[in-house]
Symmetry: C2
Subunit: 383 residues, 2 copies
Amino acid sequence: MKNEDRESIKNINDEKYLEQDKKYMKLVFKLALKGVGKVNPNPLVGAIVVKNDHIVGEGYHESYGEAHAEVNALNMAGKNSENSTIYVNLEPCSHFGKTPPCVDKIIAMGVKRCVVSVLDPNPLVSGKGIEKLKNAGIEVRVGILENEGQELNRVFFHYITTGLPYVFLKCAITLDGKIATRTFDSKWITNESARKKVMTLRNRYSGIMIGINTLLQDDPSLNSREENARDPYRIIVDPELKILLDSKILKFNDKKNIIVTSLSNENSPKYMELLKLGVQFILLKNKNFLIKDILEELGKLKIDSLILEGGSNLISRVVEEGHINGGEIFIAPKILGDEKALPFMSGFKIDKMENCFQIKSPKFNIYDDNISIEFYNKIDLNI
Amino acid sequence: MKNEDRESIKNINDEKYLEQDKKYMKLVFKLALKGVGKVNPNPLVGAIVVKNDHIVGEGYHESYGEAHAEVNALNMAGKNSENSTIYVNLEPCSHFGKTPPCVDKIIAMGVKRCVVSVLDPNPLVSGKGIEKLKNAGIEVRVGILENEGQELNRVFFHYITTGLPYVFLKCAITLDGKIATRTFDSKWITNESARKKVMTLRNRYSGIMIGINTLLQDDPSLNSREENARDPYRIIVDPELKILLDSKILKFNDKKNIIVTSLSNENSPKYMELLKLGVQFILLKNKNFLIKDILEELGKLKIDSLILEGGSNLISRVVEEGHINGGEIFIAPKILGDEKALPFMSGFKIDKMENCFQIKSPKFNIYDDNISIEFYNKIDLNI
C-alpha cells in the first residue's frame, strides 16, 4: 500500500467521533491483553461492537489457531451487528489463514463503520482489509491510538516483519552491575516482588534463552510458576553440549527444551540421550556462529519472542550484534565491590564515556527496595 | 536527664492541641530549612509564635553565630508574645553560647506554652531547657513530629554526638557500576538534571572529600555553582602529596582547601608552596591511617558534614570502616561492559550473595532518564 493511500484512509473521517473512538479503543486494548501468553505467534487482538453508544458484542483472540477477535465480538452481537460500529486494534484480515477472512464476516453482518488502531504490518496484505471494507460501503477509520496499538503488539510486529523472535533482556543485578559472586552464587539478588514480575514476563514471552554456564551454575527450572500460565520454551546455547543429563529442565516432558549446539555434536551419545528426552536441537554449522543464526532458526520454529536471562557472555554477544529489542533490568541495593564477581556485560573495550552503550527512553519501576529499568529499544553503542 | 523524666515531659499534654501542633511544627521545619548551607555546624532551627491561632512571629537561625530562631520569632511578635504559644523544632538552649539562653527570652516575653519537636541531643544539656521553662510555669510539649525533627537535623545530631562529620556518599555510576572508563574518562555519566541535584548537595554539606587520584584525573573545581550558595571545604586525601600546584582548586583563595597527607611531607618544598596558597593540612602520623583519624581532625575544624565524591579506593575505605551515614547514588542508563573500567567500589572478596553490602531503606528519585538511590543509613556488610 502506498503512503498516499494510507494518508487518504486516515483523513477520511472527521473529528466528530474522536473521543468516543478513543474510549472504545482503550477497551479493545484491554480485551486484547487477555490473550497474553496464549496466542503467540499471533497478535493480541480485541474487538468491540457498538450500537447507539452501547456495547453489544465483545471478544478477543483467545488462543492460537482459534477464532479471531472480530468473529467472537460479532457472534456475541448477533443481529445487533447491523448498522453497528466495530472497533478492533489491528486491521481485520482479508485472507484465508487458519480461519476465514474477518472482513467477509464484518460485511456479511451488516456493520456500518469500522475503527482500527493499526494497519496489518505485513506489507503484502497491509491495507487490503481496509480496502475491501471500503469497497463494500463501510466507513473506515484507521489510526486511533496508533502508538499504543503498536506497542501492544510490538512482539508481533517485530516477528512478522523480521522473522526473528523479539528479544527481551531480563537481568537482576547488584548496584555495581554484578549477576553473581566470584563463586557464581546469585541467590538472591532481587527481592520477592521483583522476582514475581519476572514470572509475569515468562508468561508474556514465548521462550527463555540462557547460556550453558548459567545452566550449569544455577540449574534453573525456567518455568513460569504463575497460575494458569504456560511455560516458555527453554533455549540453551550450548555449543559444546556440556549440559548434564540430570539438569532440572530435562525433567519437563513438554517438548519445550531447545538446545543450540554445534553440528559436530549431532548423533553423539549425549545428543541421542537428549533426543530421547524430547529435546529439540538447533545445529550450528560454524564455530563462529552469529546470534542471528540462532534467532532465525527459533523464528522458523514459530517462537516469536524470548527473554534473554543470561549469563554475561551470551548477553554481551546479543547486545553486540544489536539483537536486543527491549528489556527490564532489575537493580537491588546491594554491592559486592569485588572485581572477580560476574558482571552482567563484559568483553568490551571503551575508552570514552560518550562511546558507551546507551539505553534510550528508560522507564523506571519500583519494587519495594528494588528498582528496574524497563525499555523498548535496542541497546546502542554511541559511536 | 533520666528516661523517666523524659517520658513525663512527653506525657504532660493531652491530645487537644495535637493537630494544631503538628500543623505549626511543619511550618517550623520549613522555616528551619532556610538556614541550609548557612548555619553549619549549628542545627537548622525555625520558630513560630502563635496567638489565638494566628502567627504573630516567625524566625529561623539564619547564619552561624547569629541570633537563634526563637529570638527572631519573639522579637517579631513583640508584645504579642504574651500568653502565646511558641513552636520550635529543637529544645531551646538554656546556656550561654555565642548568644544568651533562649529560654530566658521565652520566659521574659511572657510565653504561655512551648511546643518542641526534639530534645537537645547533647546529653549534658538535654532536657535542661525544658526544665527551666516548666519551672517558670510554662506549659511544655515535647515530641511533636519527632522523627521528622530528627531527620531535619541528622547532620547536627551526628556531629554533636560523635564529633565526626556526617559522611554523605555521592556517586555517579553507569548501570554496570562504573565511575570512569579504562582511560579514566567520566564526562559525563549522569544527565544535567542529576548534576544539578549534586550542586544542591554541595550547598547542603560543609565539605567535599575526594582521593588524590580523582583530583589528578579530573582536576575538578569542587565548587557549588548554585546561586547564593557558599562553596564547600575541599578535602583531598593525598598521603604522598602528589597534588599538582596548578590544580584548579588551588586557585580558590578562600582558605577552604584541606589536604590530608603524611606527616613526613611536612615542611617539604611542595608543602611550603601549598601553605603559601592558603592550604590547611591534616597530617597523618601512621602510614596505615584510619578514615576515623581524618574525620576526627575534620570534626575539630568544625566541619560537621561532607560529601564523599570518590574515587573507588577512598569510597571503599570509608564504607569498609563503616563511616558512611547516608548518600545518593546516581545511575545513568549507560553500560561500559569493560572489566578495566573503574568500579565505584572495589577490593572486597565476597563469596556469598547474602554476605554482600546492603543499603537499607533506599528511596528512589528520578531525574529524566537517570535515577538515584538515596539513603540515610550505613552501608552494612551482611555478615
